[in-house]
């Protein structure tokens, strides 16, 4: 029983790991191949199966005129939009979450929980439903096909995540800590910034990471709300997926585009495994 259990356990873990990692390995090996290696059948091990070439990676920094894939500008666009939208979402989301956690709001039948639900409900609707109003709205204020317009839309999408995570987090910070800060001579703002916020850093990190992940991977809105002026990375990568772009440069671009997320995932994982975030996410 014990041995069989152990065998099955490791079998499934290995199976799952291979299942998850295989596409990355596939892309990684492909990015180092040239025409002959790609067309020569499935090969995996460099120097043994095929001769690695750096051509796929070189095109990343080449200008389009010289046959480059032109992802540098979309890359920085994506970085700028994601970071700005995440930062604003975290600041606004944290403030709203603190208010929702500590103060009692009432407007008719609308109470704290209803407001929290309202925030989260923004994420319940399928994106396609939101896309038309967003399109018309951005069109009306002349922000279609602009970075600012995308930031506005991303704040709408990311802030609910921040609110959701931070409300839960603040609910777990005892109220008595705020009260003690007030008793010790802090006004409510000082109590928030000097006591509550420093104790919420793990929550802020997790909320921030989630915002970055969801902002970075969004394809749909970046696709709908931009045309020619501004292009974000996911749209660009998909656009590359055509017969003109060789497989090796496509693979290299895709790997570069997920690199930030891999870094983020490692940071979150480190915080989670430390155990000091055990209550921060459900």
């Amino acid at each position: 029983m014990g041995k069989l259990y152990k065998f099955l356990k490791y079998f499934f873990i290995t199976f799952w790991a291979v299942f998850v990692v295989a596409p990355f390995l596939w892309a990684l090996t492909t990015s180092f191949k040239d025409f002959n290696s790609v067309n020569g059948g499935a090969t995996y091990i460099p120097w043994v199966d095929f001769e690695p070439k750096l051509e796929g990676w070189r095109v990343l920094i080449k200008s389009p005129a010289n046959g480059g894939v032109d992802i540098i500008e979309p890359y920085f666009n994506s970085l700028f939009v994601t970071c700005t939208a995440s930062l604003i979402s975290i600041v606004l989301g944290t403030l709203s979450a603190y208010a929702l956690s500590r103060f009692t709001f009432k407007a008719g039948f609308v109470k704290n929980n209803d407001i929290t639900f309202f925030f989260i409900s923004q994420r319940i609707m399928p994106p396609i439903v939101l896309s038309i109003p967003f399109f018309l709205f951005l069109g009306a204020i002349n922000l279609l096909d602009s970075l600012i317009g995308l930031i506005v839309v991303y704040i709408v999408l990311l802030m609910p995540i921040a609110v959701w995570i931070m409300v839960d987090f603040f609910n777990k910070v005892p109220r008595e800590i705020d009260e003690t800060a007030l008793i010790d001579g802090c006004n409510p703002y000082q109590a928030f910034f000097k006591v509550v916020l420093p104790n919420s850093i793990p929550g802020l990190i997790v909320a921030g990471m989630f915002c970055i992940i969801f902002g970075w991977i969004d394809f749909f809105f970046a696709f709908i709300l931009t045309f020619t002026e501004v292009q974000l990375l996911p749209v660009k990568i998909v656009a590359l997926n055509s017969s003109i772009t060789p497989w090796w440069s496509l693979s290299a671009s895709a790997l570069v585009s997920v690199a930030p997320l891999i870094i983020v995932a490692f940071i979150v994982e480190r915080y989670l495994s430390k155990g000091n975030l055990s209550g921060a996410i459900k």
């Binding site: 008595e176 800590i177 007030l182 008793i183 010790d184 001579g185 006004n187 006591v195």
Partner: protein
Amino acid sequence: MNLVAENLSYKPDEQFHLNEVSFNFEKGNIYTILGRTLSGKTTLLKTIAGLLTPDTGAMQFEDKDFLKVPVWERNIAMVYQQFINYPHLNVFENVAFPLKQRKVDDQLINDEVTKSLKSVGLEGYETRKIQELSGGQQQRVSLARSLVKNAKILLLDEPLVNLDYKLREQLREEFKNIFSQGLSEDSIVVFSTTDPREAMEINGEVIVLDEGKVLQVGSAKEIFENPKTLKVAEISNDPPMNILKASIETNKIKFEEIEVELPNHLSNLKEKNFNLGIRASDIKLSDSGFEFEVELAEISGSETLLHLKRGNSRIIISIEEVLNFNIHDKVKISFNISKIYAFNENGVLSSSPFGGSYV
């Protein structure tokens, strides 16, 4: 100037958390709020602190309308029953926090914090993280933080309740020392507790609170000797005072087919029927006594608490040694009749062994 409150009421839901509470706290004194859980003790302390605003009533301190002063300007200190400290700061920084907030000079902060940590027995722990301390030590840090401020009003909300037995004894001694030496002439200490023994030991003025209402105010001795009502007698004794329905017939007290002599202090009792009150410690096992049936025997420390039954009456007696009993055993007990309290049918004290009466 005193801290004076008039008719404070607070009713956030169907129930009163405070119901017409009035008091007059003088500087240099210790006040104990005695009441069971949910009796409104914490609400009262939070109202004094300014964390809650009562629906009605007034509070004055040092010639100011205290209800209009925001918490952070009230110069109070409060210790909670949960060990509340700032988890992101170490022990020294925790205690220094209120002084830093006042922008006190660094050298002075250093001196004051060191002095305060010494007074709670935590010297040498300055750089420790809060999470590395035991519950008792955490509670001492919050005590040190509240002492360092030299606050005019020090509020202690059941500070010992979440500690284990031994630490509680130890910290209670320390409290007594701190209160007797360190307390300055112009501060008020308010201490809340559910434990009557604690209230007696602190030995200040006791306020008995129940369902948000003040039932009795008096010295610890006065509350012990002459509890105003049945409710006070229940709250201020642990185990609660035994109450039996009794009647007087020709110089005898009768209850549950038991007859005992009428003690002198009950001889002027007007009513025939009354509620007889007697403390668990005033009932003894005795071979010549009356037979009761054992319902439960609890051993608590070095004493045994026996829950007994006879007819419709249930009583608890405490025996100062550890004895084993089985359920349904028959035991014989005798009552110390000189310690019998009489409460009238409305539950008001009509005669006590110490001569008090509220009828």
